[in-house]
């Protein structure tokens, strides 16, 4: 009986975040089948350690476990080289942000379609992709992202800045190509 209660309590807390968990896993693994495995693994693990959840935002706790399961998955399925790529060094913020497009931001925004954006995201290093998703899609705070990625808050902030720059650079590049092609 107590076991059923535990399960029900877990499901009430955890199932509302299934889409968020799946979306993150899908963007990290790059495909649905592996994302399903990772998410299922994460939910079983979360259930097993449900007693160690001490309040706070359940989604943050769960996404941290999803990330851990992803790291285990990548270790089992790929070579160690495929682990989080090193962040590209160099590039100060100023150099890139000052490459201002001629079009206003709104027009530039209109110019990109979902498919192109998906391609651009998948070209980013995992660490960038991850921090962009957690911040912009999941709308998590620096502190929450720091907890999920077990990274200091200062690192989260600088990584997020670099990730935005990197995506913007790819985006401006894609845009320029389209303009040249006359699309």
């Amino acid at each position: 009986m107590a076991h059923d209660d535990r399960k029900r309590r877990f499901e009430l807390l955890a199932l509302p975040h299934l889409d968020a968990a799946f979306n993150l896993a899908r963007w990290l693994t790059g495909n649905s089948a592996d994302a399903e495995d990772v998410v299922q693994d994460a939910y079983l693990r979360a259930y097993r350690y449900f007693d160690s959840f001490h309040g706070g935002e359940f989604r943050v706790w769960l996404l941290g476990i999803v990330r851990n399961c992803f790291l285990d998955w990548i270790k089992e399925n790929r070579s160690s080289r495929m682990l989080f790529q090193a962040e590209p060094a160099g590039e100060t913020d100023e150099t890139l942000w000052s490459e201002r497009p001629r079009d206003p931001e709104a027009l530039l925004l209109e110019s990109i379609d979902s498919q192109t954006l998906e391609q651009l995201m998948l070209r980013l290093p995992l660490e960038y992709r991850e921090v962009l998703l957690l911040r912009e899609v999941e709308d998590l705070s620096y502190k929450e992202i720091a907890a999920i990625t077990t990274t200091p808050t200062g690192t989260v902030m600088s990584r997020l800045s670099r990730a935005r720059l990197a995506l913007r650079k790819l985006w401006l590049g894609a845009h320029a190509t389209e303009v040249v092609r006359g699309v």
Binding site: L15, L18, R48, S52, G64, L71, L117, L167, R168
Partner: protein, 246 residues
Amino acid sequence: MACDRIRTLLPLLADGALRQPRRFFVARHVAGCPDCAARLEELQSVGTMLRTKLPFHRAPPGLAARIGAALPRETPPPVPRRRVPVQAFAGGLVGALAGVALTLLVMPAPRDPVVQGAIDSHVRSLMAEHLMDVATSDQHTVKPWLSARLDVSPPVRDLVDLGFPLLGGRLDYVDGHKGAAVVYRHAKHIINLFAWAAAGRDTGFSETARQGFNVVSWHRDGIAYYAVSDLEADQLAAFARLVSGG
């Protein structure tokens, strides 16, 4: 405030991480400065693009049901900690990281998930080149850094005089437990000492060898400890006694 100073704060403004009164001053500057306003708009456009254009992948219909069906077979974590005899050959088996990667691919099903989790986190810390969040041999820096971020305050000692210099610390997860990883070195061997809050009585030292790593675990004053390294078993046991102060 000057534009330079404002620009470093723009991401924080965009991310809602600025508190009053700073938020007010930054927002006021942006309202009156077209350059900074344009910069803020650029910053925000990345977020807008991701929120409006990036495909959101919803969980497939059957997944919730599959997880629900799988749950009852999972039981709460086992409490007893078994004593596993140290295998005599384990210490020197694997030194190089390349060897570790190969070992992981052929590893058998884990027995104790926490020991396995500790080894996984150890390997991950070496492979992902994310060994330390705070890299310093100063115990008076590492300890408060960890305490501020965790609900435990594990002892951090610089054992350099005893041959185990402190390298630093980071936050890590071991099989779902969020805790501290305090990093030490002995000769060329890295030691990760994982520690997290755990109920239960104090225990002695348990030694395990697996995948070429030695693990020494113990429980003291409401904290579970797992020391993991490719160090020889007796040296790791010595380290455990030193770091635990007994």
